[in-house]
């Protein structure tokens, strides 16, 4: 997706994202922050994605994530201010050891997904990233629902076994 196409999409998505932010925070200012952050993250995603993806579903999920992350940050900032500490670590809820584990897990996941067949990968990501149901995927791809289900199951088992192998479990 190029910059012009994204700007058009962003203008269409903005009211939806603002509503999600207002529902969660009950404040127009916080909702504006949610919209900014969501659109920024979507731009990063969209540089890797093609236009055929359901960007609206993805935007809803990213906006909800932004709400939760902002809330968490606000809470942590409040706790730090109460404790008399400055904000030094951008992700203070994770210890360094957990950060390393998390990085390894994400790397293993990317590699495991990379080994999937293109169709399996597409369906896996539609479930994982867009949060679409089997029926919605069947509608969007034109693949029968039973086939979608079996292909998603196959993809998940492959990813699980590969990750298990890579993480020595």
């Amino acid at each position: 997706m190029d910059r012009t196409a994204f700007e058009q999409t962003a203008a269409r998505l903005r009211p939806l994202i603002l509503r999600i932010g207002r529902d969660f925070f009950g404040s127009a200012d916080d909702a504006e922050d949610v919209a900014q952050e969501t659109l920024l993250q979507l731009w990063r995603y969209c540089q890797q994605l093609d236009e055929s993806r359901n960007i609206e579903a993805l935007a809803v999920r990213v906006a909800k994530n932004c709400c939760v992350n902002m809330k968490r940050r606000q809470h942590l900032t409040l706790v730090r201010e109460t404790d008399g500490m400055g904000e030094t670590n951008p992700s203070p809820h994770l210890s360094p050891h957990e950060e390393v584990e998390r990085e390894e897990g994400l790397k293993a996941l990317d590699e495991a997904i990379g080994q999937l067949q293109p169709r399996e990968r597409q369906l896996f990501e539609m479930r994982q990233q867009n949060g679409l149901s089997t029926e919605e995927i069947a509608q969007q791809t034109g693949i029968p629902k039973a086939s979608v289900q079996s292909m998603v199951a196959m993809a998940r088992k492959k990813v699980f076994n590969e990750m298990k192998r890579r993480m020595n479990l």
Binding site: N65, Q128, S150, A153, R156, F160, M163, K164, M167
Partner: protein, 222 residues
């Protein structure tokens, strides 16, 4: 959710049978700090977006629960306040009604109930209340006063409608006779009291007289 439930949900997830809602629920369970290592893989597969969405829904659901609880609490408080107010107002109004109603009942002319009438036949002729009738009308039907307080209907109607056993009519002669008997009884009582006092005084005098006699004898003997 127990570990068994989570494992069942993981199996369902691996078979591609879970709904997005179930996957959000699973994301919360497998991201717990004490989750087994295999669950961490499922957590990675579900991704941060699923977890974030699950936390968003959870937070909103919790806020909704809090709002509902607050609403229920305020509703209960409002009902309790209304009941208390109603009770207090009711308590305050009862003495006022009693004060207002009692003299009215006593002052109103009462219907004459004929004692010889076998069925409930009440004369509609209103006569001025005599002391005896007033006593009958005022003392006998306590229930009628309460009923009157609630419905605020005329006393005469209540007398006609309710089956209250009426005392037989007392004539003035009979009343005078009772009064005379009572006066006689009072006189007898007063007489008895005087008799007792007189006996006591006589006994005291006798005692004094005997003591005087005994003293006189002693003096003579000396």
């Amino acid at each position: 959710m127990t570990q068994k439930d989570v494992n069942r949900l993981i199996d369902k997830y691996m078979e591609g049978e879970t709904t997005p809602q179930e996957e959000r629920q699973l994301a919360i369970e497998v991201n717990r700090p004490d989750a087994p290592a295999e669950w961490k893989i499922i957590a990675e597969m579900l991704g941060d977006l699923t977890l974030g969405e699950a936390l968003y829904d959870q937070t909103k659901a919790e806020r909704k629960r809090v709002r509902i609880r607050r609403y229920i609490g305020w509703s209960i408080a409002a009902v309790a306040a209304c009941l208390t107010l109603w009770f207090v107002l009711g308590k305050l109004s009862i003495p006022t009604l009693q004060q207002d109603t009692a003299p009215q009942i006593a002052q109103q002319p009462k219907p004459v109930v004929k004692p010889e009438a076998k069925e409930k036949e009440v004369s509609t002729v209103l006569t001025p209340a005599s002391p005896a009738e007033e006593q009958v009308a005022y003392n006998a039907p306590t229930k009628r006063i309460k009923k009157h307080r609630k419905n605020a209907r005329p006393v005469v109607e209540e007398v006609v409608e309710e089956e209250v056993p009426m005392l037989p009519e007392v004539s003035e002669e009979e009343l005078a006779q009772v009064e005379r008997n009572f006066q006689m009884w009072q006189l007898e009582q007063a007489f008895l009291v005087e008799q007792i006092e007189l006996d006591a005084a006589t006994a005291a005098l006798n005692k004094q007289y005997k003591e005087y006699l005994a003293e006189a004898r002693n003096t003579i003997e000396i």
